[in-house]
Structure formats: C-alpha cells, structure tokens
Amino acid sequence: MNPVELEKLKFITRRKFFQQCGTGMGALALASLLNEKLMASPAASGTAPVAGPHFAPRAKNIIYLFQSGGPSHLDLFDYKPELVKRNGQKMPDEILKNIRLAQIGKDAAVLGTNYQFKQYGKSGVWISELLPQLTTIVDEVAFVQGFYSEAFNHDPATLFMNTGAQLSGRPSMGSWFSYGLGSENKDLPAFVVLTTGVGQPLTNHAWGSGFLPTVHQGVQLRSQGEPVLFVSNPQGMGPERRRQSLDALRDLNQMRYDVLRDPEIATRISAYELAYRMQTSVPDVMDISKEPLAMHEAYGTTPGRASFANNCLLARRLVERGVRFVQLYHRGWDHHGGPDGNLVFDLKKRCLETDQPSVALIKDLKQRGLLDETLVIWGGEFGRTPMMQGKLQPDQIGRDHHPHGYTVWLAGGGIKPGIVYGRTDEFGFYAVEDKVHVHDLHATILHLFGLDHTRLTYRFQGRDFRLTDVHGEVVKPLLA
C-alpha cells in the first residue's frame, strides 16, 4: 500500500470512529484502535508495511552475522592449492592489471594458506580446520564462493554491503525491510542491531535509515547500560509511578484532542503507550539468564558479558518474538599482519569467538522449526588478497583487502541447502563462475521476503531510490 492510500485508509477509519463515538470517547480506546495492525501509521509505530510484500514470501525473518573487517576467504572456505604451490612467488601480471590495492603493492608475494582443509557434506565443500563446528552443518548451508563487491576500504565497503551504496546516506537493508514489511511485534522495533568486538570503527550509517523516515532505522540494543537509549525510567520513578504519569499525560492529551481534533494527538497517545510496553518487552528479551544451561553450553554464552555468542542467542530470542531483521556486527577481522591483526593468532581468535555460536544458532533455529522462515547470512564487507601483507612470521603475517572474489554463506529462509555456488579463479582472486554481486545478493534476499527489488522504491530528491540502485538480479539457483 502506498503512503497516500494508507493515510486515506487511516483517515476514513478514524472518521467512521468519530461518527460512531462522537467527540468524548476515551483516548485509550482510540489509541488501541489505532494500534491495530491495519491502522498503525508507519509514523506511529513502524509496525505496518508501507510497500510490500509483492508476492508470497519464503522467509519471515533475517539474521545477518556481519563479520566486520574482511575475513580471509582463502584461509576459511576457498581452498586454493595453486597458492600453496606458488607460495612466495610473484602474482601473474595479467591478474593484477587494472587493480587498485588498498595497502600492499603489486609486487607482493603469493601466500598459500597454512591451514588444513578437508571436504564435507554432500556438496563436498572445503572447510578449513579453523571452523570445526561449521563442518557439522554444511548440509544446511549454501556457500556463495563467487561473491564480489567493488569497494576496497572498510567504510565504503561496509556501506556498500549494507546500503547498496559506498557513500553514506542511503537506507540500510534492514531499514528497507522495515519500510517494506513492517514488524511482526508491536512491542519491539522491526530492525535491531547488536555489535561486539574491537577493531575498525563501525558507524551507525550502516544501519541508518538514510532518507527513509527514522522509524525504520536499526535500533541498536546495547549489551551494557540501557539496552535501548532512554528505555529505563529514571531513578526514583518505578513502573507504577511512570504508569501514573502516563495516565495523567494521556488524559490531558485527550482533552486537547477533543478541542483541536488533530489526528497527530491520537497518534502521539498511541506512541506513548507503545513506549510504555517497550519498557517491559526490551529488558525482557535482553535477559538471557533464564535460558537453560544446555543452551548456554551450546552457544558458549555467559549472561552479562558482551560477546558474539550472547548476541547469537539474543538474535534467536528476537526473531522468536517477531523482530524482522536482526543484524550482528562482530569486529576484528582486518588481518593485515602485525600484532593486532594477523592470520595466526587473531584469525584463530575470531574463529573461536564465532564458529561455535554461529553454528549453535543454526541448529537452535532448526530445532525450533524457525530455520525455514529465518534467513541467516554470514560474511564480511570483502575478503582478503591471495598476496601476503606483512612478514613471514606468526604475528606479522597478513593479507590486504580484497573485494573481487570472496565467500559468504547463507542458510535457511528458502535458500537451497547444502550447495556450493560459484567459484573464484585458481588464485582465489576473481570471481569467475556464477558470480554474485552485492546488488544480486540484495535482490535475492528481498526476493525471499516477497519483495521485488525493482519495485521497493522510495522517492527522495526527485528520484525513486532502491536498495539495488539500478542493478541486481535475483540469483535463482540459490533458491530452494
């Protein structure tokens, strides 16, 4: 439904309501009426779909495990014996023609992986020894090995993956989902973001709403302090006192509404009531302490401590409650070499932090029957170069940024399980077969949710904008 129609519908329904009830009706009754899914204005609560869906969806929720910094596809998923063979040699010139590199020069030496790879599952995908847990679910996963992006610096590349544009200011994927599909839960936002780890700074542009109304922006749930800014009542004001003050506020707003008849007042009354409900629902979903011990062991979680594992468990709790789009950012994958980011200690640490909980999440979703309707994505803003950066010693060895071919994996939510799709060349440099561009991934994800990426548009500065700009094709072979 387009915004104009929605407004019209709201208005007509309100008018009917006025006719039936006259002027002195209770604001609460009005507020609860306005909160019905059909009635909720996007401005009031963000619960109503504005744009879609366009056709029957395959998936309902999405959990995007964003690995910030650029995990090395060559040491995790994309096994290239050719690199091992050519270890220390120069890359062939023809490969590097027309290439801009972030930090290393074109004379950098080839670096073969130092990790053992084996094949797993019906797809026979090669997985590195660094991801032992992942090997247990490969039959649930589609590995997209011909994935590629365009940007080779963190900020533009992260924005590109998340907003479809390298410059900040465009709506993020989650905002498009909120705009297109609304939320399934009237007490929680449609789009939630959780972050962990240290490393390259992350900006909230990656989950911003750009030119879409702010109601669609990602709400960052914080692991320390208030889970949502300003959700807690101040010291000295418990829920009872807050309720009493909201009662007074509602009555006074109601009196003014009776005089002015401005529908915005009714919307405001309903927004304050939803705010009150969020004061309970948000802390409740964030409290993982009551999860059974077996769950904590499976994920590797410790209540009260910020970790990627905790966030994975939270992600499951959030989608269970109908949050449409949960995005986790885990930083620290920027392994250029050197003591803060190398392919030995740091890569192993990142894998230890993420392998178990990512896999536990898939298994948990599956066991609860949620995997069919929940799409899980694992990947970073780019991969890493087949050439070495740094020095050949454990704490110095690294690889540079590499957008031309790398791996992301998807599972659940209408994705064909147990496949490897696409591949890179023998150097793991260029995606060469069944290539999937960032825009294609976006188009495919939207498709799974019943959204046509060419029709999910928003007019800004005179132009109809899309998540996929003017590009993108749905990757049909990835669909179950």
Binding site: F11, L167, P201, H205, F230, M237, P339, G462
Partner: protein, 1042 residues
C-alpha cells in the same frame, strides 16, 4: 515470469480488443504526459532516450519517436494500436522481439494505456515549458467574496482558493496561542508569562505588529532561522567519513547567525557563501562565509584515494547548490542525462567545473583560516567561580586534617608494610610484546608495541586470606616519554579491564574468576576512573593523563578474601582494548591480607620511619613532611586537588586555545574538468568548461565564468528559481509544508504548487520590495549586484502578518475530510517541533537556558560511552569520550550541540534531525515510541523537569492551584481549563502522597543534573512537582507549535 500470470495478462489485453467501439469514446482521454510518457521514461529511455538510441529509435523527442527506428516504419499508427509497432513489441511473446528486453513485462494497465492512447489518435501535445523554468511575474490579486477577511496580499490568494473549494477560513486564534506561535516561528523559544500578559493587555491597533517587530529584532531570531539553514549547509563538527574526526567549523555557524540577525540581503548572503573569497578585498567574514561549501565530508581512512574523495565533495557542492537555490535534483545527471528535467550530463559537469577549481583535498581538511577567539568570559568566569569554591572547600577540609591524621596514624600503627610484592612469572602478551623481570619485582614490557593487547601474568603466593591487590605502574627510561604507558605521544595507557583468576595446578579445572569489590587510585584522568578497570565493561578504563612519567598505583579490593590451595597460582589479566598502543609499560603487583581498607594506602619507607617516631618527638620538618604525605592519603583532599588541577588546566587551555575554520580557496592554475563517464571519476570523458544549463538564463558575459559569476547568476532577478525556492522554504518553516511540498525539487517530478500565483507573488515581492532592515554600514565594501531587496525579514513579516497565519489550528470533520493535510489553509499551522526547539523550550521553561549566542560547540549531558564504539574523535589527545561540558555550557541552545555525523546527538536523531552528511531541505516529521522514551527519560530533560519544579515552588505563589497555573502557562502560554487543572492537581496530590511514604525515591528522583538545588525546598513536594513538570514537558501541546 510465472506462466499463469502471463496468460491472464493476455486475457486482459485481449479483452480490450473486443470491447464495443463505443468504449473508446466512453473511456476518459488518455493524458500523454501523465499516463504514457512516464512509461517511456521508466521502461524505454535507458536504450531509446537522450543518452542512447538503440536501433536508431529515440522516444524522448516527438518527431524522432513518431518516425520510428531503423526498420523505417513509424512507431505507431494513430487510431490503430493493433498495427502499431510499439504495441506489437511490448505485447510480443517472442523473446527476441519483446520489449523491454530486460526486467518485468509492462503491466496490463500500462499496455491498456498505450493502446488506448494510440487508438484515441496518439495525441502528443507540444510540451508546455515547465512552470518553474519561466520567470515569475507578479500576478494581480485575485478577487474574493469576503473582502473583510484578507489582511494582506497573501490572504487574497489563499481565500480565493478556499472560496473555490467552498471552504471558509477558521477564526483568528486567541492571543496566547498567537504569541506562542509567533515566538516559536521567529525565535524558536517560548514567550515568558510576562510577555504573554503584556500582549493580551495591549489593546492598541498595532499590538500584533509591534510583537512581530520585537521578535524579528531579537538576537535569537538569527539562531532559529539560521539553524534551518544549517541543515541545507550540512553543517557539522566532524569530517564525516569513517573515523569521523573533529573539525573546527563553528565560525561559519556564527556567520550564518549574524547574517540573519543583520538581515543581510539574500543575494549578498548567497554570494558571500559561494564565492566570498573571490570578492575584491574579501574580508575575514566573507572568507568565513565560504565555509558553506567546506561543510563537505573528508576522509580520515588510510588508503583512500584523495582524488576520489575530492571529486565526491565537488559533486556534493553541485547537489547542494541545486537543492538549496535552484530546487533542482542536479545530482540525477551525474551518471546520465536527467530523466525528467532538461539537464544533460554535460551540463552537470559544466556546473561541476565551477566548483572544481579549489585547493581543498579529499583526505585532509585544509585550507583553513585563523579566526579571533570568541567571547570566552562566561567560561572563564565559571572556572574562576569553581576554583574559588573548591579552594574554600579545601580550606574547610584542611581544618580537620590534623585530627584525621592522628586517627589515621593510630589506625595504621604496626601496619607500615601491609603489601607483599609478588614474583611475576609466565607473562605473555597476546599482541606479541616481551617482558623482562627487574630486580624490584617489576615487569617491563619490550619489543613489539601492539595497538591492542592483553597481558596474562602469573604469580604464586603463600599468603592466605588475600584482601586486595596493589597494581603499581612505574616510569622507565626505556618507555616513551618515560612511561609508565607505551603510547608514543605521552606515555599514557588505558587499562580497560583488570581481571584476576585462580589457576589450579591441574589443567582440568577451568580458571576460577575472582571478583573485585572496588578500585581506587592515587591519580585518575578525567573520564578514566580507577573503578572503570574493574567494572567488567571493556569500553571503560583507568588512565593517568596528564601526569605522565611518574609512578601511580591502583588498589583493587576483593569481594571475598582469597586463599590459594596448594599448587594454585594467581592469574592476572590486563585488557587494553583502546587502541593506539595504550598499554602499560612497567608494572608491579603486590597482595595484602590487611582487612582495614584505610590501611591499604601504600606508605613509603621514609614515612613509615616518621610514623614510628612518637608525635611529640617529631621535628617541625618531620611534622610537615608527614602532614604533606597525609594530604595524598585523604580521599576528600585528593578529590579536591584533582578537581583544582583539572580546573586550572582547563583555564590554561582556554587562554592558549587557537581558533580556526575551513574555507574555500581558488587554485592559481585552473583545473581541467572532464565528464565522468557513468559518474566514475577515473573514466575521463569529454573536456568541458564552466557554464549553466541552457534551460536557465545565460551566465553574464562581462566577467570570468567562475564561482563568483555563478553566485551572481544564481541571485540575478532573471533566474526563475532562486526566489521561488527561497520564499517557499520560508513558508514551509512556518506552515509545515511548502506551497511546493517538495521544497527540494521544483522540477517535473516535484509536486506542483498548491497556490502557484501566491508563490509567484511572494517571489516577485522578495526580489523587488524596498529594503529597509539591513545595516549597510557593516558591509559597504561588499559589491551589491542587484538594486533589489532580497529581504528575508520582510517576507517572514508578510507571512506572519497575514490572516491566513493567524487562524486557529482547530480542525473539524469538514476540514479534515476535505483537506486532511491542510494544504488549502482553512486552518492555522500545527505540527511537532524540531528537537532543538523541544530542548530549548525545556531549558527556557525551567529557567536553565544560557542565552549566550555563538562560539564553539558544546557538549550537553549525554549517555556515556556512545563514542567509544566509534573510535577516537581527537586521536592526538586520546579523546574517545563525549567531553561533557560544565556549568553554563550545559544549558546552551540546541544548535550549539556538537554535531558528530556518525553519531548525531541521540535525542536529536530520535526526533528526525538529519546526520548532516548531505544537504537536507526538509526534515521528515515522525511520531514514534522512541521519541516518547527520549522525551520522558533523556537526562537533560529530566534535569530541566527538576529545575522547573524548583521554579514552580519558588515563583508560582503559595497555593497549588496558582502554582499549577503558573507551570501550565510557562509551557503552553494559555491557562489550563478547569478540567485540565483538576486532573493535574489530582496527579500532583497522588504523587505527593506517595512520596510522603517514600522519601528515598523522592531524593533519587531529584538527583538528576548538576544544577543547584535550593536546600529549603521540601523534598517530597519538589519530587511531586518534578513528576508534574515531566508530564507538562511531554504534553502534545508543549512539543507542538500550534
């Protein structure tokens, strides 16, 4: 495409073929521009449009389109859709034939429209020039039936339309409503009760006009009107990309405020901002004004291509100019010719060329300009007062020092050496540093100096019942700046987490974590307290700046005494997450079994000797030495001295601070501009020179085609757009929606004006009225180019003097049904305020507002640690925390709040403030639960509620009824109705009763904010009033301009 869908589409299309002949006549005539051309634009232009003509077919020009493509046959035969090529191709099922070849097929509706249009004769009317591209002519005032209602020209246009629509205007709003509406529209601040009373009592004929004139002359006018301009100028205090470091740009903001306050004519206002540096003998102010186009973002990330970011900034200037002055979406022509408006890609790059000749770069913020210091006396006075107050406290505290010292001496008798240093073993650094054990039991880090690090260190001990750990950080000549940390620039460190575990002898049991109860240190850097090292929050930590190069220590007390089992060891963990090598260089660890926390403060050996001497036998010198040492032991004295140190340092900083701003500077050697193919800065196409689009009047030929000529061209009275766009924006600010709703787009895709003649009348008036309000003495050197007025205050005054503006905002069913969005203006404007206004109002109502104008940005109360997730704001001083202001700077107006693009001040962002990454013409206006939470619980609004409550009790008179009336009027200007007053009093009494049973909650509630609280106010009453104040500040009416 799904086959069944495909088939049904065919049925529909076939259906139209067999309808009786009469159908076409019955069917409404297809409008080419509305129904057919948009299909061409969306689905055909990509290959058959201005940029590309596949198969020689071009569908954007009538003659070419009719002639058809390379087949030689016409595209359509008027009256016979079935034989028309176009229809055959779009309905074909042959994949080689069907059009469009990519994407979805045309919809049934689109095909029906195309066929009907051809069958009706394929009428393609000659395009009328788009209204916005012809110069506005001043229209005559339309006749109206009710000739008594109009107060000025505006009302004639509005009423004529209302009468056409059979609507009548609403009655004039009451005076309290009017003064509140006017005060917010012209100054962004609420009127005082005295101002409201004076206006209500003033029965003179020109009472209203006098009020308007007073408000237009207020120095707060420039702040309020200027703030809207800052959204267009994308003003911010940070660089924008990734790390988003701080920049100094406030002098530009100050320039904007001053320019509006002096009512600088808009043409001059334009020229100085776009090309002030190119004016002959440009003044400092005129150079500062060019900051408008230095508000573009710059990159801080290593490895970014300087030229890429520079060209992005130049493109942003084109886009911003298009939106701000021309109301055109020029950026649409960056990669291809504009699909709707007559702007070709070449014309885009000709505009680009105007801005492509400055010296600024993509990867740094130069050039900048030194500016004089702003008035700092308020800050300095505040510091002096604080210093004097702390000194007084210190003097008071010193009086009781001798007695305290005696008590302390008694307590520590026999406890001179409570600490046992540990022998540290198995030290590892995950970042790769190496350690050396020194003879004094300390450990020195060497070798690799990682950005982040974690140390794990082991130690055994025979002591049982360990109660606390002593961490000493020590200077060392091998460390940067003598240490004790390893950060090269200062020798600082930040200990984010200090952890302790018990390591058992066997590997099987996992280490058992030990918890700390608290931590204190001899010295704490501001925002980096000792307790942060043991709070299990990795974002906070302990640091020692600026006291570098000396020994410091931290005492961490255990929650429970600890005894190690045989073979077990202590495992220490030091986490340094902060970055920039903020790790500890040399440290020593000791343990104690002492239970008295007072006795834990380490006692140097010489002091231990002195204490051993009975007090009566100490020499004067010995007494003084011991007293001096005790000062460092006393927590109260330590805290006060730390505060004094900080205040003095702040004062010294203020005195030596240098102030700069970013400016435009023209290159000596002109830079050649090329078209960027597909918008890619690396794909250089044809070379172009600076010039303006052909659809608009030509550039004057008597001057070089540079930025200055371009700025003058923008404000030439021949330009059809600038005046319209500007008056429309003034209208939008006051009425909530512009006469053209899409205030950023006056092109073909923009919305048509609701009152076109009114828009043209206002635009003409803007350019031609006589100018009175501007003090030309100040800018006599500026070369005025037009003899016209461009008088902003004049237009604003016209708008607010109109009867249209003065209407009541109350709606009724008829008005809502006929005009839901109030575009016809049969009622007064009513909409939610901007967040800056909500903040300013709360400060004004409570009496907290510091009305100071201008100066650098300030940091009001904010949720802690938000910036830590983003990284450093000022890496050179290791600043990664919002440096909360103090004293009067906490209560400045919202527009002075530090604006960091990647983390806009949360209460503002929640209420739809833009990030200021790009030019924004109008903010969206949403109404969300997150806004409700912010308005209810945000700390600075809570403080305002508390101080508002104090004001109610101090100034509201003796009775609760009078106090309630006072409070209510402060917020919404009008008195409460009886029902409102009774509801509020009932709420007050309910709260009072509850606080009478619960004084502790009352005290907790009142403990918000640092503003003073008079001691004589009853805590329970004050808390109850604070609850009322919180409700009043959240009323829909309070946060709405109506």
């Amino acid at each position: 495409m799904n086959w069944s869908l495909h088939a049904s589409l065919w049925l529909c299309v076939a259906g139209t073929l067999i309808v009786p002949r009469g159908f076409a006549a019955e069917q409404a005539k297809i409008d080419f521009a509305r129904e057919v051309q948009p299909i061409f634009i969306k689905r055909c232009y990509e290959c058959h449009g201005p940029d590309k003509q596949r198969g020689n077919l071009r569908l954007d020009l009538k003659t070419d389109a009719v002639r058809g493509g390379k087949s030689g046959e016409p595209s359509w035969i008027p009256g016979d859709s079935a034989k028309s090529h176009l229809v055959q191709r779009v309905t074909s099922t042959d994949p080689d034939e069907q059009m469009p070849p990519k994407g979805d097929r045309l919809t049934t509706e689109q095909i029906v429209a195309l066929k009907a249009w051809i069958d009706q004769g394929a009428d393609w009317p000659e395009e009328k020039p788009h209204w916005a591209f012809s110069k506005p002519e001043r229209p005559p005032l339309p006749a109206v039936k009710d000739s008594r209602w109009p107060r000025n020209a505006i009302d004639h246009f509005v009423l004529a339309r209302l009468e056409r629509e059979k609507l009548s205007p609403s009655p004039e709003a009451d005076r309290a409503t009017l003064i509140r509406r006017l005060s917010f529209d012209l100054t962004g601040l609420p009127p005082t009760i005295e101002e409201v009373d004076a206006f209500i009592k003033d029965r003179s004929d020109d009472a209203y006009e006098k009020l308007v004139d007073r408000l237009l002359a207020s120095p707060h006018y420039g702040e309020h009107v200027g703030r809207a301009w800052l959204d267009l100028a994308r003003y911010a205090d940070s660089n924008g990309y990734q790390v988003d470091l701080a920049r100094s740009m406030w002098p530009y903001r100050q320039w904007v405020i001053n320019a509006f306050n002096r009512n600088m004519p808009f043409d001059q206002f334009t020229i100085e901002q776009l090309a002030g540096d190119l004016l002959p003998n440009a003044t400092l102010d005129q150079k500062i004004a060019t900051g408008f186009n230095r508000n573009t973002k710059t990159n801080d990330e290593g490895g970014g291509d300087d030229e890429e970011y520079r060209t992005k900034a130049v493109k942003d200037r084109v886009a911003t100019t298009g939106t701000t002055w021309l109301g055109l979406t020029l950026m649409c022509a960056e990669c291809h010719t504009h699909k709707y408006d007559p702007i070709s890609m070449e014309e885009y790059y000709r505009l680009y060329a105007f801005f492509n000749n400055t010296t600024d770069r993509g990867n740094n913020t130069e050039p900048s300009l030194a500016v004089p210091a702003p008035p700092l006396h308020n800050k300095v006075n505040f510091l002096h007062e604080r210093i004097a107050a702390v000194r007084r406290q210190l003097e008071d505290a010193e009086k009781s020092l001798p007695a305290e010292q005696q008590a302390w001496e008694r307590r520590i008798t026999g406890k001179a050496t409570v600490w046992t240093a540990l022998h540290l073993t198995n030290a590892i650094s995950t970042g790769g540093a190496t350690f050396t054990n020194l003879p004094d039991q300390s450990l020195l880090a060497k070798g690799v100096n990682p950005t982040y690090d974690t140390y794990q260190i082991e130690a055994g001990t025979d002591l049982g019942d360990i109660t606390a750990i002593l961490l000493e950080v020590l200077p060392d000549p091998s460390l940067p700046k003598n240490g004790p940390g390893r950060w090269s620039q200062t020798g600082n460190f930040i200990l984010d987490e200090f952890g302790l575990t018990v390591l058992t002898a066997s590997d099987e049991a996992s280490p058992e974590p030990i918890f700390f109860a608290n931590a204190r240190a001899d010295w704490e850097q501001q925002y980096y307290r000792a307790e942060h090292a043991v709070d299990r929050n990795p974002k906070t930590g302990w640091a020692i700046g600026p006291k570098f190069g000396q020994r410091h220590f931290l005492i961490a007390q255990l929650k429970e005494p600890l005894s190690l089992k045989a073979g077990a060891k202590l495992g220490f963990r030091f986490d340094f997450y902060h970055g920039n090598n903020h790790t500890i260089g040399r440290l020593r660890l000791s343990v104690t079994t002492e239970k008295d926390p007072e006795a834990l403060w380490p006692l140097p050996a010489d002091m231990a000797d002195l204490i051993a001497i009975p007090a009566t036998q100490r020499t004067l010198d010995q007494k003084q030495q011991l007293a001096a040492h005790y000062r460092t032991v006393s927590p109260a004295i330590r805290e006060m001295e730390r505060e004094l140190f900080r205040l003095n340092q702040r004062e010294a900083e203020l005195a030596s601070q240098k102030f700069t701003t970013l400016v435009m500077k023209e290159r000596d050697e002109p830079r050649i501009t090329y078209i960027h193919e597909r918008g890619d800065f690396l794909a250089k196409g044809k070379e172009v020179t600076a010039g303006v689009p052909a659809i608009l009047p030509p550039l004057p030929t008597d001057q070089p085609a540079n930025r200055l000529a371009f700025a003058r061209w923008l404000v030439s009275t021949e330009n059809p757009l600038t005046a319209r766009v500007t008056v429309n924006r003034l209208w939008e600010r006051v009425f909530g929606t512009g006469i053209v709703k899409t205030s950023e787009d006056f092109g073909k895709q923009g919305e048509a004006p609701s009152h076109p003649e009114l828009l043209d009348w206002l635009a003409s008036e803007f350019m031609e009225s006589t100018h009175a309000g501007f003090d030309s003495r100040i800018t006599h050197h500026a070369s005025r180019i037009a003899p016209h007025s461009w008088d902003i205050k004049h237009i604003l005054k016209l708008i607010v003097m109109s009867a249209t503006y003065r209407q009541s905002a109350a709606a009724d069913d008829e008005r809502l049904e006929q005009d839901f969005y109030n575009r016809l203006l049969a009622r007064g404007p009513r909409f939610r305020m901007d967040p800056e206004m909500i903040r300013d109002q709360a400060l004004a109502v409570s009496g907290l507002l510091n009305p100071e104008i201008g100066g650098p940005s300030v940091y009001p109360e904010q949720v802690p640690n938000l910036w830590k997730e983003l990284g450093f704001l000022r890496p050179e001083i290791g600043m990664d925390e919002w440096p909360t202001s103090e004293g009067p700077d906490l209560y400045r107006r919202g527009l002075y709040t530090f604006w960091r693009r990647v983390c806009t001040y949360p209460p503002f962002a929640t209420f739809d403030a833009p990030s200021r990454d790009v030019c924004v013409s109008r903010r969206p206006r949403t109404n969300t639960p997150l806004q409700a939470l912010a308005a209810l619980n945000e700390p600075s609004l809570l403080e305002a509620a508390r101080v508002f409550a104090q004001r109610i009790m101090l100034e509201g008179g003796p009775s609760p009824t009078g106090q309630m009336e006072f409070a209510f009027r402060l917020c919404v200007s009008r008195p409460p109705t009886r029902a409102e007053r009774e509801r509020l009093i009932a709420f007050y009494e309910q709260q009072l009763k509850s606080f009478e049973r619960d004084t502790r909650s009352a005290e907790e509630l009142l403990n918000h904010g640092s503003a003073a609280r008079p001691a004589n106010l009853d805590v329970r009453r004050l808390a109850a009033w604070m609850m009322v104040a919180n409700v009043l500040l959240n009323l829909d009416e309070t946060i709405t301009k109506g």
